[in-house]
Amino acid sequence: MSAEVRILSATGILGSGFREETLNRAMALHPDFIGADSGSTDPGPYYLGSGETLFSDSAYKRDLRLILLAARAAKIPAIIGSACTAGTDGQLDRLAGIAREIAREEKLSFKLGTIRSEQDKGYLKQKLRTGKITPLANAPVLDEGVIERSAHIVGMCGIEPYIEALQNGADVILAGRSSDTSIFSALPVMKGFNPATVWHMAKILECGAACVVLRKYPDCMFATVTNDHFVVEPPNPEYRCDPVSVASHNLYENSTPYELIEPSGVLNTFHAKYEAVSDRAVRVSGSTFKPAHRYTIKLEGAELAGYQSLIVGSVRDPVILHQFNSWLDGLMKAARDRIRSVFGPDIERQYRFDVRVFGKNAAMGKLEPETRIGHEVGLLFQVTAETQELATALMKSVGHIAVHYPVPEWSGLITSIAYPYSPPEIARGPSYRFNMNHVVEPASPLEMFRIGYENV
């Protein structure tokens, strides 16, 4: 075993970018592999539900091209996890297609390993029946109906499928849904480095340059891991890390800074030490890793919630704003009455009609403690129904009622909302919802993931 392993994290999320000159600087430090996360549940359920991607193919291609060129020139592995946002099989195929295109254009050849994370509904139902699926905090109810309704369900893989692919000689690994940290932990753990040091390094590196003192734009990050500590230092000379910036990163997108739960165990950073080794590099040591007594894979699922039609508008008249709440309540009721008179009483069960009020409580909804409003209020009307056609048809009735809804002070017909668009209604398309927060106990760490190889 060599004394250290060097890790280059290209960026926090593939497609968001990094500086080419930073990548070149980092390559001069001789990394053992390049890793990058390509996914997140942060932007919501749409990407898992629909299979669409957070960034454009052009953005993925720009980042992946530079990573593949650098990795092939240095003959080191490139490892990308959670392909194209949610890590569905379709999103993985999309990223693999982009990789093949790059290989063709740049005349690169490599052994491509792909890890599929999408889950079979029959397998999950069987696991549910045998009590091998358990809920995490705040999980919604999971039954066979939820599994059946899901548009896509992915499992979040650990390091084991990556290690399998590396041991089978993959030069480039593209994975479906994966824990962010497994992308960076797999190779060092495979080489026998202390898992506590490795997993802590992975948590710091998985967001690219997020652990610097002031991150002005997405960029690369670099770490050198030995058995009992790692040193993190940004390859971009404009950036610096200090002990507080590195320790602070444990807070990010995590419910506790002291624990990180992975399929194979739990990293505990309670006794971690963060020491400056220069004005821009930090040495981290002292974490512990406790192997799990049962190996679990986290599930993510999304189902269709309906199709939506929206209207955006604003109100400026002080007379209306003075009685805003009662005016809006009256408007909402009048719109529902109009829908009922056009579509009949059966329509009641087939749609939802909601409004978001910008300038009042659009960010916090019912939890907003502030009651004042300003000189202008923005309205976002929202109809949700089973089809886009129905949502749009209902919204057309809302639009006309809303724009002329009166106040007692003005006599004659008024136009009470400013619509910026013609037509006012906007088809938003499908809306999805996350429908599970559970873990599965597979028979083995590889059971839920399908690994394929091809020579590109």
Binding site: D42, G44, P45, A137, V244, M364
Partner: protein, 102 residues
């Protein structure tokens, strides 16, 4: 008396997965952090009242290594669901900003 935003270098909220909302207050210096921590101005009770939860549902962690206090609560609505107002959970810290600190 100072406001929390005057003594913090960062106040933020963010999803910790689609089912939890997490708040970070990172203080400018160790002394202010320790005063705020010991005065318990950021407490399970305050969060329970503001976000209409049971105090048992609120996790408050003092993170000395970063002079930070982290609070995690169940998300009021699952991220991106029809009733959600904030898919990233990024603007839910508003009421914290003007808290009085000793």
């Amino acid at each position: 008396m100072a406001k929390l935003w005057q003594v913090a270098k960062l106040i933020r909220s963010k999803n910790s997965g689609p089912f939890e909302l997490t708040f970070d207050v990172i203080f400018k210096d160790r002394g202010t952090y320790e005063r705020a921590r010991d005065a318990k101005i950021i407490s399970a009770e305050w969060f329970a009242k503001t976000y209409r939860l049971s105090p048992d549902a609120v996790s408050v962690i003092h993170y000395d290594a970063a002079s930070a206090i982290k609070v995690t609560i169940p998300r009021p609505v699952i991220s991106g669901d029809v009733d959600d107002t904030d898919v990233f959970g990024g603007q839910q810290y508003g009421p914290l900003v003007d808290l009085d600190v000793p």
